[in-house]
Symmetry: C2
Subunit: 85 residues, 2 copies
């Protein structure tokens, strides 16, 4: 596998899992007042477009990492709504 | 321009500017207690890798959108540190 592909995969994993610490923090502290819902909404739309882009380009790195992000995003939205005051 | 390129550009803009509402919220409310610093750190590393990937691939959409995200991420880190208690 080429270096460029490895960098692409590492980049995908990095941005893909970045919402995980936020999700864990919200669930652990049961607080989400300072988390921006518009951020999560804009990110959701962007991620859906990335998955469509990946499907059209048949690029499994793009599809996989963005589908993972979408799942984390959806969980973050659900718990943010639950713990907003 | 092809539909696939337009979708890629729209996707880049969506995920690229998604931190903007979070940054505005932090500056306006002067509070960032519930914002996860590890999220911002993991995202930062992922974005740096995406910019490198874009440079190696000579893909200006990837470079531009991720460089914009990096800038927003850096501002969000600075203001989060400032307003954490």
């Amino acid at each position: 596998m080429e270096t460029i592909q490895l960098i692409g995969i590492a980049a995908s994993i990095g941005t893909g899992i970045s919402l995980l610490p936020q999700l864990v923090k919200i669930i652990r502290e049961k607080k989400a007042e300072n988390v921006s819902m518009p951020m999560l909404a804009v990110l959701f739309m962007g991620l859906v477009l990335w998955v469509i882009y990946g499907i059209l380009k048949k690029d499994w790195i793009i599809i996989g990492s963005n589908a993972l992000s979408l799942l984390l995003n959806a969980c973050t939205v659900i718990f943010s709504l639950k713990y907003k005051q």
